[in-house]
Symmetry: C2
């Protein structure tokens, strides 16, 4: 039986419709300011992780808290991702992870997705007007979203053996590189795009026009 999914609610801009993204059997980790976002959406986390440098409100009762030192190497989100990796979740949904003034955290959260993917997880991020899926070698179908672009990026130095069909600019055995954004702004020509790759960490970005 597939293990349930780990949802990380972190401290960027709140993701619209957050509570609707969470399933009953998800394991929910709230990080720092994400504790407030969870409370606002009546989501009770299963675990709270943070150094609480940016959240000062009350903590929900009966929820275990992993308090991190504020002088630490990992970001709170990275600590949550490690937890998900160590506990054997195969899927992580990252929310409230973009926007705000802290662009350093945006970059860190992209790299945190790559960390989860390197550990074998499929990491999805839901933001406002954007959804991203990051993983190692896999085959997946992405249903057409009206008014959206589909882009592919290498999050490891190189992603090879990329097959992409059902889109305006298909690829067959293609190669993507992290220092060369070649797969930006593709468009669906069929009901679903089929994407597979043989090596490396691929980031799929579905972005509203």
């Amino acid at each position: 039986m597939a293990k349930n999914r780990c949802v990380i609610i972190t401290g960027g801009d709140p993701t619209a419709g957050l509570s609707g993204l969470i399933r009953g059997d998800d394991f929910v980790i709230a990080c720092d300011r994400g504790v407030g976002y969870a409370a606002k959406e009546n989501v009770t986390p299963d675990l709270i992780i943070g150094d609480f440098d940016s959240y000062v409100g009350p903590l929900p009762e009966n929820v275990p808290v992993t308090r991190l030192p504020s002088e630490k190497d990992d970001t709170d989100t990275m600590a949550a991702m490690r937890y998900a990796e160590e506990r054997g979740f195969s899927e992580v949904l990252l929310t409230c992870a973009l926007g705000g003034k802290r662009f350093d955290h945006t970059v860190a959260n992209l790299q945190t997705m790559a960390h989860g993917a390197s550990a074998g997880l499929t990491v999805t991020l839901e933001g406002d007007g954007v959804r991203m899926i990051c993983s190692g070698p896999a085959t997946r179908e992405i249903k057409k979203e009206e008014g959206a672009y589909l882009s592919l990026f290498a999050m490891s130095g190189e992603v090879s053996g990329v097959d992409l069909t059902g889109v305006k600019y298909p690829l067959s055995g293609g190669k993507l590189m992290s220092s060369f954004p070649l797969g930006v702004s593709n468009e669906w020509t069929e009901g679903a795009a089929r994407i597979s790759h043989k090596s490396g960490i691929l980031l799929i970005v579905i972005s509203e026009k």
Copy 2:
């Protein structure tokens, strides 16, 4: 004599105080919607590059235009970066490159910075509340900015031989990896941080708190 700098004005959210960032001897490329941003700030570009899929206003007179097909592999910004690389500029300033709804372009622009850095350029990006510097092996000093964090990220798989002093969490011969955000939210303890690295593409992010 050092060659002048290439400034790319692209199509994300406009960078506040754009005209103040541009020096008299900069070579300015405006891409697509950036043409409008330049006009608004009374900046006359030296070159216009774009497929004009998102800018429909008038083009300034007497400015050469490189019109790209809208069905192309490169983004407009990437085409401008290639131009800067081919013409031998050693420094690029990327503006209006973040924000907006198109997070795919934000990721693409980060990777475009890495492309310029791989070609030997120093690429700086000025955004709202954030400044980033991306380059290959180098030694530089970053002056303390009040109310800001200093973060380091690997934009190639690995960045090694990282020396970092003048900050709360120094490094000596450290290693950063693109799938492990270890260098987030450092703070100045001296008037300037000294940063050097021996291999790989390093991204320095100065982000307002």
